[in-house]
């Protein structure tokens, strides 16, 4: 899961860079950059979920 999260986060960056070559229209670039941002944020969400699975408060260290 951690590896998937890292790859997704980086993929968002690649998508936004590719927008520079894919189109020269403002709307097209904007759409691709926003898509890249969404993918990167999703990747961070995946990473966070992977860490939360073994969170310290789920192991009994947290207050009851």
């Amino acid at each position: 899961m951690i590896l998937v999260g890292i790859l997704l986060t980086f993929l968002g960056f690649i998508i936004s860079v590719l927008s520079l070559a894919a189109t020269s229209s403002v709307g097209g670039r904007l759409a691709m950059v926003l898509l890249g941002l969404a993918v990167s944020l999703f990747g961070i969400g995946v990473l966070n979920k992977a860490y939360l699975k073994n969170a310290i408060w789920k192991k009994g260290y947290g207050r009851e």
Partner: protein
């Protein structure tokens, strides 16, 4: 009923704060200037000044100077100008050289003094973070803030500065800095993409032992160190000191300099205007993205990995508030940071006697206005939501406003600054709640929200609020004209350039920081043992208590 009335009152205040700047702008808008009626006579042609004219300028006699100069009328005159050939006396060439050197001297002094102010911000961070931590971790938290200054500087001197600025080229305001001339580029989509600089390691490499380069180094170093101290806040109270040292070194040597090169050192983000017709390219005047978002995003990667403090969350996932041990030093730290920001933003002109250098006044005013609006925004939000104006969040609102205005400070007008700051103040509160309750990421000082979220907001706000009135030599990032945002007539290209910067921060910088910290986690471990954490890190990690005369009780 009483609460409803109070909410109404605070709501009205908030609306007033939003509309007042707009109304005020309309009220003070100047009337149309009357057209000139009387023709002005042509100005007489100026008589050229010759070297012989200069020789007749009287200088105070040695006798007069020997009597002292209590009113200052004799000190500083033509005799103080360095003469290249004593036989010829003072010439136009000498005069011109002196004027040029004075300009550079003013810019050196300005840049250095503002750099010293930014260095002073380290104390602000130290007090803020230590105050928000518990007393049992005071020594550890102060020590992280102390150590990051030296570790960061060392790594930056070794290689970070070269990566960031080694290919920036001539910085005209500082007399050239010609040795910083080698940027590594690769061709992508048929355009050159600047990736990193190559000159300047140890400040000796390839002619970089240079007076102008030294000024650039000092100013950029304190900016980097500001960024490096941000992650310490998010990982406070549970971060292993040895892991902190390695993380800080890698941040100062690679993570920060790479993005800073792309934005400020002649890299590909700054060339989005010239290469892809996106406004003036990614524009970040003083570093909402370069400094604060890089620090805040690294803080997010670290806090996610290191996990929350023991006791922060219940088994059900409910978040518990862990209180600051000293709100007095928290707010003292906030004020010191606000003071240092007058170095951060106006200093980023790299000169007071330069093209656009006189905008230092408007940049300073934008800075203070956005801080004020951020502080108000956070205070009113907390008051409305929780019925009390929370002190630490009001302080964080001040900082959020300052973080957000950092990128646009040189490009926006005062009304824009207030709106940007006000949004930042509310945004920081919402972001803190989101990070804490939805993401379950424990960020004891709010570093992710203050610096990360609002750093990104600051970057975006350039693409919206830049008013097209700034003029730093007729062009910015190699594109003629002033930086202009969507609300002032741009076609959206500038906003896209800013958003590409945002995705680079979220997608690239986050990944790089995360991978670095993952490697450190595997190698030495990021988190202290649970026993140490419960005792407080002062004794297990530092060997001495921050407050030895306090009686501290370990958490059960």
């Amino acid at each position: 009923m009483k609460n409803t009335k109070k909410r109404w009152l605070v709501g009205v205040l908030l609306v007033e704060l939003c509309i007042a700047p707009v109304a005020l702008t309309q009220a003070v808008a100047p009337a149309t200037a009357p057209s000139a009626t009387a023709p002005t006579p042509p100005a007489p042609t100026p008589k050229p000044i010759l070297d012989t004219d200069l020789s007749s300028i009287p200088a105070p006699s040695a006798d007069a100077r020997a009597k002292g100069d209590p009113d200052g009328s004799l000190t500083g005159n033509a005799s103080d100008i360095t003469v290249s050939d004593p036989k010829k006396g003072l010439t136009i060439g000498d005069l011109a050289n002196q004027v040029g050197q004075n300009k550079i001297a003013v810019n050196f002094v300005w840049t250095l003094i503002t750099g010293y102010l930014v260095m002073f911000m380290q104390l602000g961070f130290a007090l803020l973070e230590t105050g928000l931590a518990r007393a049992k971790n005071a020594n550890h938290t102060m020590m992280m803030n102390m150590a990051v200054y030296g570790i960061g500087m060392f790594a930056y001197w070794l290689i970070g500065f070269a990566i960031q600025m080694g290919g920036v080229g001539a910085v005209a305001n500082l007399g050239g800095t010609a040795p910083l001339s080698a940027e590594f580029t690769m061709t992508l989509f048929g355009k050159p993409f600047g990736l990193f600089g190559q000159h300047g390691m140890f400040l000796m490499h390839r002619g970089t032992y240079d007076v102008g380069v030294m000024v650039v180094f000092l100013f950029q170093m304190v900016f980097m160190d500001t960024g490096a101290t941000i992650p310490t806040g998010a990982a406070v109270e549970r971060w292993k000191f040895s892991a902190f040292i390695v993380t800080s070194f890698l941040f100062a040597a690679f993570t920060y300099p790479l993005f800073a090169n792309w934005a400020w050192g002649g890299g590909w983000l700054s060339s989005l205007g010239t290469n892809f017709n996106l406004g003036k390219g990614y524009s970040d005047f003083a570093g909402s993205g370069v400094v604060h978002a890089v620090g805040g995003i690294t803080a997010l990667a670290l806090a996610m990995m290191i996990g929350p403090r023991i006791g922060k969350y219940e088994r059900s996932g409910k978040s518990n508030a862990i209180l600051a041990h000293d709100i007095v030093i928290v707010l003292t730290g906030c004020f010191i940071l606000a003071f240092g920001w007058f170095g951060f933003n106006p200093g980023s002109t790299l000169g007071a006697s330069s093209n656009g250098g006189l905008r230092i006044g408007s940049i300073a005013v934008n800075t203070m206005l956005a801080g004020m609006a951020g502080s108000f925004g956070a205070m009113l939000y907390m008051w409305l939501r929780y019925n009390k104006p929370d002190a630490s969040m009001t302080g964080n609102g001040l900082l959020a406003g300052l973080v957000a205005i950092t990128a646009p400070s040189g490009f926006v007008n005062p009304v824009g600054a207030v709106i940007i700051g006000l949004i930042a103040g509310v945004l920081v509160c919402i972001s803190v709640e989101f990070v804490d309750r939805v993401m379950h990421v424990d960020d004891p000082v709010g570093a992710i929200s203050v610096h990360g979220t609002n750093g990104l907001w600051g970057v975006i706000s350039v693409g919206l609020f830049a008013d097209g009135k700034s003029n730093y030599g007729g062009s910015w990032n190699g594109v003629n004209g002033a930086v202009t945002g969507l609300f002032y007539g741009d076609n959206g290209g500038q906003l896209i350039a800013q958003l590409i910067g945002v995705v680079t921060l979220v997608g690239f910088v986050f990944t790089l920081s995360f991978v670095f910290n993952l490697l450190i986690d595997w190698a030495v471990g990021q988190r202290v043992a649970a026993k140490s954490e419960l005792e407080g890190l002062d004794l297990p990690e530092m060997g001495a208590l921050g407050y030895p005369e306090f009686e501290l009780k370990a958490e059960m």
